[in-house]
């Protein structure tokens, strides 16, 4: 395994230490070693929390900052944080106006957040949740509640974070974050596996010359394993299920988030984007804003995930609001 680590079993703790040392202007410690909070000025507002397994850098830590998340619970690689960690994140983010916990639909995260919420309730902290379910490949449209959360989570944090920053109430932050992620349709394509340091060997396998459409962020099975196509056909294969997931009227406005999965060069993401743009153009869809780069990864996986966000004026204003963090500054 060609990786930059010490003891593979301590990779998360070691990395968290590194993040803190590297960016003291962003990260402050909490009572829990697996929870970091924003070190900037404490403003009186609704707290925004997320959390999830490690290995998706810059998610989740990279989205702590101004106009984004206030605290993050950090799990082992590809494994949910503990309930204790979520609870401490709630405490760290709470300024008496309640906490919006915005996370993705995975069994472990659901269970740990649920437990943490019960504990927070006993402490008098009001925690409301939004669960991202934006991966169109993970379940059909009539079983949305089974869908996994993927890069649409970023849009949820951005919109929820911006709403909290401008002083909205907890109910309103929750409504807007829910609206944001409900507006997202995402799909991934995997071209290689990835290696969890503690395991030391690839997590699954994709044969050379093949690609997996609809792959999940941890290698969950996709819709189809097919021969690797060129970028143009790949863009079509990715846009198909997204365009079929909801109605995009002629003239609809969208944001497009095209994230690498870790090892794919950024020039190839931009190359892929130009075909995605062709496809959206052909449908009369207007692109209001793009995010292209490594926004939500899966360790060293080759591939990309595409998220299309259907916008209205309310979402546009929140998406365009300024923010400052490791992963996103605008």
């Amino acid at each position: 395994m060609q990786r930059i680590i010490n003891d593979p079993d301590n990779v998360v703790d070691d990395a968290v230490k590194g993040y803190r040392r590297a960016s003291p202007d962003l990260y402050a410690a909490t009572e829990h070693p697996r929870v970091l909070k924003f070190s900037g000025e404490t403003v009186d507002k609704v707290g925004v929390v997320t959390g999830g397994g490690s290995g998706h850098e810059p998610a989740f830590l990279g989205y702590i900052g101004e106009g984004l998340c206030d605290a993050v619970a950090i799990g082992e690689v590809f494994s949910s944080p503990t309930a204790d960690a979520f609870l401490e994140a709630f405490r760290a983010a709470n300024r008496g106006q309640g906490v919006a916990c915005l996370y993705g639909n995975y069994a472990g995260d659901n269970m740990n957040v649920k437990l943490a919420r019960q504990m927070a309730e006993m402490e008098g902290i009001d925690v409301q949740t939004v669960v991202a379910r934006d991966d169109v490949a993970s379940a059909p449209a009539d079983q949305r509640d089974k869908r996994r959360g993927v890069a649409g989570e970023i849009i949820m944090w951005k919109v929820g974070g911006a709403a909290a920053a401008r002083g909205e109430s907890l109910d309103e932050v929750i409504r807007l974050a829910q609206k944001a992620v409900d507006a997202c349709s995402s799909i991934g394509v995997g071209l290689s596996s990835c290696t969890i340091p503690a395991n030391g060997k690839p997590n699954f396998s994709i044969d050379p010359g093949m690609m997996e459409l609809g792959i999940g962020h941890h290698g969950e099975p996709g819709i189809e394993v097919a021969p690797l196509t060129d970028a143009d056909a790949m863009a079509s294969a990715m846009c198909g299920p997204i365009l079929a997931d909801r109605t995009f009227e002629n003239g609809s406005e969208v944001a497009v988030l095209l994230s690498g999965l870790g090892a794919t060069p950024v020039m190839e993401l931009n190359l892929l984007y130009s075909h995605v743009a062709d496809r959206l153009d052909a449908e009369g869809i207007k692109v209001h804003r793009t995010y292209i780069g490594n926004y939500f990864t899966s360790l060293d996986m080759m591939g990309a995930s595409l998220t299309v966000v259907k916008l209205d004026d309310e979402l546009k204003a929140l998406l365009d609001a300024p923010c400052r963090s490791l992963a996103m500054t605008q």
Binding site: S79, G108, L115
Partner: protein, 217 residues
Amino acid sequence: MQFLNASNGTEILDELIGVILENRTYLSEVDGAIGDGDHGINMAKGFRLCGEAIEGKQLSLHKALSNLATTLMGSIGGSMGPLYGSFFLGMANAVKDKDTIDAKAFGDMLSGGQTALQGISDAQVGDKCLIDTLTPAIAAYQKAIEAGESFPAALQALKTGAQQGRDSTKDLEARIGRASRLGERSKGHLDAGAVSCCLLLTQLADSTESRLETAAA
């Protein structure tokens, strides 16, 4: 009438911890076939931490199980932390005020664990997970009690049910967890969580049976 003295918490917990630590490598091997090969590591981490936390203390069964539950929830995260955590918490709460635990109370303890676990997971029998061990084992125990069998006989039924449940996972296609990625190919292998659950229930039955006392009815 036979019963377990509830003051035996530390001893029983030590034996549960022991069985997990002894089977660390085996559990990871089972997980390696269709998962990511860390189930033994995850479980051993939580149980070892719990062992360190209770070292030298003499705890009631309630306290011991509560301690295990909170350590698991607080240290292993993922799915196993909350699943086993709430299972043992449900068990602990069911024996909170008890000094002695008879066959009926032991059954209530098991069901309390099961109910708590179901409160946070929708997993069903047939999904290929620890539920496939737990549900038939507890059902077998309760059936034995209803049929008027003795406490030791019911504990035997618990073990047999757990083993049958564990073995049933071999032919199942995984519908949850990492192994679900493999679809058809997940068949032919035991589920790691079902194996650890069987080890725990079997040890719990053995530890209980070896400490049963008899009172005049």
